[in-house]
């Protein structure tokens, strides 16, 4: 499974657990519009770290948090695993 698919699948699973109804996950969807709160994002980042072995938001020096789904996925794709 590609990094992108893994991320989408993790988002969908957390949405189901948190009873959040997701809009279609397009690249330009802002993270705010996903309906996730900061706890849901914290869970997502922790699970992806276990799954992919990376946490791009902790290791990056200029850890600016992404604004859209596309930015979020690219943050993972751009880190050498």
């Amino acid at each position: 499974m590609s990094v992108r698919l893994k991320i989408i699948s993790a988002i969908e699973q957390i949405a189901a657990e948190q009873k959040v109804t997701l809009p279609p996950l397009e690249d330009n969807l802002s993270l705010h519009e996903t309906g996730f709160d900061s706890l849901a994002f914290a869970i997502l980042v922790a699970r992806l770290e276990d799954d992919l072995g990376i946490d791009p938001f902790t290791i990056s020096e200029d850890a600016s948090f992404p604004l859209t789904i596309g930015d979020f996925i690219r943050a993972y794709e751009n880190v050498p695993a």
């Binding site: 900061s38 706890l39 994002f41 914290a42 980042v45 922790a46 946490d55 938001f57 850890a63």
Partner: protein
């Protein structure tokens, strides 16, 4: 039953009570005969009035030494098995130790102590000794980080709870404990056995649980104590089915409903009680109704123990409490009114207080406070769960999130993992605030238990 004036342990060794024993896996002694024996090759008089470190390689020797030295030495400091070597010298200085009783004299060759007395399990006949004084009993706290604190007790204070509910003569318990008797919880059981006219079967580090239980059975133990972690380990091992104690006691950690119910199921004919005690505050109370927490009605004064709840934290004033921390830099053990701040947080639900965790163990999730223990209590009530540990995991987003390591019961089919995880999460969601719901659950084979018998939380 208490002898008047100053009494020492030896004064409770009634030679008329026959058949009493003290044993571990390798040694056994008669508690009936021990008052007329020495484990120090007759050198007890040299310890008169001294501040004595009791540093033996095993609990059996330590028990013999306590029985012989109490009432003779000025002070007696019980050295637990896991004391770090680099703390030893500081403790010797802080407690103004000037003699050591040990079976490992090489360990103290460089300590600069005036007197080293060798203890052994070879008991020799000796004249019965007269008690000279009330020896001060010093114990170490089990603080996992940094220097342990030295806590000063008297025998009278240590045995306060035992005098209050001493068993009738003729009903002579055979005690066992998973604790080490050089720590407060274990020492209570040693003292109960000695004062209550019973016997004691000691634990043995490294002994497989099944062998330990076989030994307990062989000795016919009737009363047994340990931490909830000790008990969960026993329930997990499957060895519980092999024995049937009459009295099961839990202390040292929060006894949640799951472990109480688990023990009730495993030992249907036993009475099961959980006690609240700490090295500093002494024995607070015991709860015997099979329910977690304690009735709010016992807050106040009862049996000489005063309890109050201040900012959600239990404070205790009691003659069973320690009288001081000992040492050059020792802080005050009580507040101005004589109350010990236990650091144990409680929450009133209906007419019962429930322990929710340690004040120092709070984890911070994006500014919201969480006690790991309250989440563990919810996880542990699932039939498939034997024990769990909740801890913080760093998060770049909220600072931390809550994660849980869970040990399933031996009977649970591991392939049901995903289903069990979902049910635990759903239950946590229904019972707890959102930030307390574990973000992740990991199944593990076992959880580490500290030398003091508590769930290891140091890496949290």
């Amino acid at each position: 039953m208490f002898p008047r004036e100053t009494s020492a342990l030896r004064d409770y060794l009634d030679p008329g009570l026959t058949g009493r024993t003290l044993s571990d896996a390798r040694h056994s002694a008669s508690l009936t005969d021990i008052a007329g024996q020495t484990c120090l090759k007759g050198r007890l008089a040299e310890l008169s009035g001294r501040s004595v470190l009791v540093a033996t390689s095993n609990q059996f020797f330590a028990a013999l030494v306590m029985l012989e030295v109490d009432g003779i030495a000025q002070r007696m400091l019980l050295c637990p098995p896991d004391l770090k070597a680099d703390h030893l010298q500081a403790i010797i200085e802080d407690a103004e130790i000037d003699a050591v009783v040990t079976d490992q004299p090489d360990r103290f060759a460089a300590a600069g102590l005036a007197l080293v007395v060798i203890a052994s399990g070879d008991l020799a006949a000796a004249p019965r000794t007269q008690t000279e004084r009330a020896t001060e009993w010093l114990m170490l706290t089990s603080g996992t980080l940094g220097m342990p604190k030295i806590v000063g007790h008297t025998l009278e204070g240590l045995t306060g709870a035992i005098a209050a509910d001493a068993p009738a003569k003729g009903n002579r318990p055979i005690w066992a404990t998973f604790y080490d008797i050089r720590r407060y919880g274990g020492l209570q059981i040693f003292l109960r056995a000695v004062i209550g006219g019973g016997s004691l079967v000691l634990s043995e580090p490294g002994e497989p649980l099944a062998d330990h239980v076989a030994r307990l059975n062989k000795m016919g133990i009737t009363h047994i104590s340990g931490t909830p972690s000790h008990w969960r380990k026993l329930l997990m091992s499957g060895a519980a089915s092999a024995f049937s104690p009459k009295y099961v006691r839990l202390s040292g950690e929060i006894a949640d409903q799951a472990v109480l119910d688990g023990l009730h199921q495993a030992f249907p004919s036993a009475s099961i009680g959980h006690a609240y005690a700490s090295t500093e505050a002494g024995v607070g109370f015991a709860v015997n109704d099979g329910l977690e927490g304690f009735p709010a009605s016992i807050v106040g004064t009862r049996d000489g123990v005063e309890m109050k709840v201040v900012d959600g934290c239990l404070h205790i004033r009691s003659r069973r409490a320690a009288h001081a921390y000992v040492g050059h830099r020792a802080s005050a053990l009580t507040d101005d009114e004589g109350f010990v701040d236990t650091g144990d947080m409680v929450e009133l639900r209906g007419d019962r207080y429930h322990f929710v965790g340690r004040r120092g163990g709070i984890i911070n999730i994006g500014g919201l406070k969480v006690h790991p223990e309250e989440i563990e209590a919810v996880i542990n009530r699932h039939a498939e769960v034997r024990m769990s540990r909740v801890k913080a995991r760093k998060s770049p987003i909220t600072g931390a999130i809550v994660v849980a390591d869970v040990v399933l019961t031996e009977a649970t089919d591991a392939s049901r993992g995903d289903e069990i995880k979902s049910r635990i999460i759903a239950d946590c969601k229904a019972s707890l605030a959102p930030h307390k719901v574990p973000a992740m659950i990991k199944f593990v084979d076992k959880l580490d238990i500290t030398a003091a018998g508590k769930l290891a939380r140091s890496d949290a």
